[in-house]
């Protein structure tokens, strides 16, 4: 932002001007998400469980889909890295809850 705009900045009403990026990226993301969903369904019926490896594949595909929704549809890719970090880094804390509660669930099963 230029220093001459400084006096005009009011936090409550500030709206940055956004230019359209066109629709090419939207269609690309739609195709990627559709392919990943179809892959999910095909794997469900064709892939053997391989000791939980299949479930890891589903979760990995889910995370890839989440990346495309957040980065492309929600425009996170075009936001400042500071904002992206403020939202994504705290969310990574749930990984601790995942590890803890799945361990606990397994304990309920075996005890």
């Amino acid at each position: 932002m230029h220093s001459d705009n400084k006096s005009e900045y009011i936090p409550e009403t500030y709206i940055p001007h956004v230019e359209s990026n066109g629709t090419k990226e939207i269609w690309r993301t739609l195709i990627i998400l559709s392919i990943l969903t179809v892959v999910d369904i095909v794997l469900y019926f064709t892939m053997p469980p391989w000791g939980g490896f299949r479930n890891f594949t589903f979760i990995a595909l889910g995370i890839v889909k989440a990346y495309y929704i957040v980065a492309s549809f929600m425009h996170m890719k075009h936001e400042k890295i500071d904002l992206a970090a403020c939202i994504i880094v705290p969310f990574l804390l749930v990984l601790g809850l995942v590890a803890g509660l799945l361990y606990e669930g397994n304990f309920w099963l075996t005890s």
Binding site: S34, N55, A66, E79, L83, L97, G105
Partner: protein, 252 residues
């Protein structure tokens, strides 16, 4: 020389006032923070589901696999209970529970209906981004058209969910008991898909408000379509959550 100094001043004073540090509006930042908190809520539900799921043995593979498209008899659930595929001792296999499709009674179509629901939600996300993009171009007519399609997608998803719940309840599933396996199975299904469905419902209500405002020219008068973007963020988040509900409830 003077340009050099002003460059360093703006470089080092991101947080000293006079500018938006994240270069977003107040409302959009608040929407992101709300979505972060909502993501924690849904994570708790899904991780709680994971813990309960881990406390039961995994479903046993059927000796005789039931081919998709094969005949689905009316006493399918009783048959599955007899051969031990549905038992209180272990978690049921999703492909044996979610195998119905509207208007195709008596055909074994595992996961096809939820896949359709997933596609409906992805498509309504796409029409939402198209509305946001039209808003950037100040194209009032296109914003209205795409918002209308988004609302239709949301209503279609809610209709599908109502049908699936009806099917599930008709087969005897309640919060306390279900014929497929442990009581937790149906209780968690109703809780998590219900919580997500209520988010979809709220999203449809927001979308209708934005649609009416856009059609009445409120945002054109305001000079920007940022409200479409903010509600769009919420709508994509609902789609994002469904990706994980789909993965954890139906695939794993």
């Amino acid at each position: 020389m003077s340009t050099d100094t002003s460059a360093t001043v703006t470089e080092t004073k991101t947080w000293s006032g006079g500018r938006s540090p994240f270069n977003v509006s107040y409302g959009k930042l608040m929407m992101w923070i709300f979505l972060l908190s909502d993501a924690f809520t849904f994570s708790s539900l899904l991780i709680g589901y994971g813990a309960v799921r881990f406390s039961y043995p995994a479903p046993e593979a059927l000796v005789e696999k039931i081919a998709p498209m094969s005949h689905l008899s009316d006493d399918f659930i009783e048959q599955m209970q007899e051969i031990g595929a549905f038992s209180e001792k272990h978690w049921p296999s999703p492909e044996l529970v979610f195998n119905h499709f509207p208007f195709l009674h008596g055909v074994h179509l595992p996961l096809m209906f939820v896949s359709l629901m997933t596609f409906i939600l992805i498509f309504s996300s796409v029409t939402m981004v198209l509305a946001v993009e039209a808003g950037h171009r100040m194209d009032k007519k296109k914003v209205g058209i795409y918002m209308f399609y988004t609302i239709l997608g949301g209503l279609a998803f809610l209709g599908c969910q109502a049908w699936e719940w009806t099917q599930f309840i008709t087969e005897g599933a309640t919060l306390e008991h279900n014929p497929f396996g442990p009581a937790h199975f149906a209780a968690l299904f109703f809780m998590v898909t219900g919580f997500h469905g209520f988010h979809v419902f709220s999203g449809v209500v927001f979308n209708i408000m934005i649609y009416v405002n856009a059609r009445r020219g409120m945002y054109e008068k305001r000079g920007h379509y940022e409200m479409v973007e903010k509600v769009g963020l919420y709508w994509h988040f609902v789609d994002l959550v469904w990706v994980f509900v789909f993965t954890f409830f139906y695939l794993i």
